[in-house]
Amino acid sequence: MNGFFKSSIGRKVAMALSAFFLMFFLLQHLAINLLSVFSPELFNEVSHFMGTNPLVQFALQPVLIFGVVFHFIMGFILELKNKKANGVAYAKNNGAANSSWVSRNMIWSGVAILAFIILHFIDFWFPEINTKFIKGDWSGTMAGVEGYRYYEELIHKFVNPIRVGAYVLAFVFLGLHLAHGFTSAFQSMGGTAGRKKTLQTLGKAYSILVPLGFVFVALYHFFNH
């Protein structure tokens, strides 16, 4: 493995591996979110488990954070390296003739997603950390709410139409990012030969359905509460 991850292909593979991890995480996240539509109780149960289980909190969560940070930093590093490889810019360049807009603008959809994640951290994650680690409250309850607090908190986030709008927009960008990213990750891992069609179909399905699922949850709560 000596030097593999320093090579251009090694970096691609690293990007792809972190992408696979993040895509898996998204599925898991979406599954839990969807529970909030069908069963607030179950949603609360699972949320409490995820929020208090030591394995999740102290092993998986750091890995996730590392994955997210790695994917972003590597993305930016690669972008800078690629810019350097370009030399003088073309006076006229017709990129649309040979490639999709999404594939050429992963960095911008990525930046949009990053902005959303920062917002998301401020919204959910920092208060969670504050509650658990600063205040030391691991009960999962809050005053005035029967049972666990998670569902109540969730629906409160989707009241402000501007916030919901921003949330929906972020997932549009995520969809765009995945529209190229899904198959691209497989290609980087050397997996497309002979299975191109299947992967393209899967990629299309994933990049539409997953963001749509998140948007659905948000809009559902916005219109129902």
Partner: protein
């Protein structure tokens, strides 16, 4: 037809270049693009100006010498052709055509539209061969049957003409299609598999050293490649390198 040409002029590798406008008239639609350039150059010579330098040789789409970025696309708007096979019937009377050299840090401009592709050469030196002596004392050609499928796929990879359109068109100036094609050709054949791991490592290392960018799988190279070299070759190279790294 009458045309306006916007052409990159640059005296030598150190000079600063610029786009210059020219007019050509009475261009036949049956001319090849380079024949149109010949008309321009004849015109320039006759008026005492220096003709536009551009690389070209076989003019039948196989030597890989010609290399123009025409209206924002490598080898121009047609598909499956090199610039010398591009015909003027792809353009209309009164069109303005922008003509630039390949752009990539690893392809510095030598003069006008001519670029230096020695980086490609050095990648080939790093491993673009099978280490067999040319003594002629090899085994009989038919003593090693090779499946038609593998032979055909190797052939498809081997049709690369090394023109550099893939790099020129890639938003990251990546050379992965070029390198992937060579790695694939040999990786698909039993003769080449013996030293496959070293080959892919060395060629990729040299590619990185030359300053080519990273592949982000946009697929633009495959579309603009005059020989239709498939992206699968890049995937195969990725696999080969992973395999080599795990060895």
């Amino acid at each position: 037809m009458d045309l306006t040409l916007k052409i990159w002029r640059q005296k030598d590798s150190n000079a600063k270049g610029q786009m210059v406008d020219y007019k050509v008239t009475e261009i036949s639609e049956h001319m090849s693009f380079l024949e149109m350039m010949d008309v321009l150059n004849e015109q320039l010579v006759n008026s005492g100006e220096e003709p536009v330098a551009f690389d070209h040789d076989c003019r039948e789409g196989i030597c890989g010498m010609c290399s123009l970025y025409i209206n924002g696309e490598a080898h121009g708007p047609d598909r499956g052709v090199t610039t010398c096979q591009l015909h003027m019937r792809m353009f209309k009377d009164g069109d303005t055509i922008t003509i630039e050299p390949w752009r990539a840090a690893a392809f510095p401009v030598i003069k006008d539209l001519v670029v230096d592709r020695m980086s490609f050469e050095r990648i080939q030196h790093a491993g673009g061969y099978i280490s067999v002596n040319t003594s002629g004392n090899t085994q009989d050609a038919n003593s090693l049957p090779i499946s038609k499928h593998a032979a055909d796929e190797a052939m498809d990879a081997a049709t690369c003409i090394g023109c550099g359109a893939c790099v020129a068109t890639c938003k990251n100036s990546s050379a992965m299609l070029f390198v992937g094609a060579k790695v694939s050709q040999y990786a698909l054949l039993p003769q080449g598999q013996v030293e496959a791991a070293d080959r892919v490592k060395n060629m990729v290392a040299q590619m990185d050293l030359e300053g080519f960018g990273n592949c982000t799988n946009t697929g633009a190279c495959e579309v603009e490649c005059p020989k239709g070299i498939s992206l699968d070759n890049i995937a195969r190279m990725n696999r080969e390198l992973m395999k080599a790294a795990l060895k």
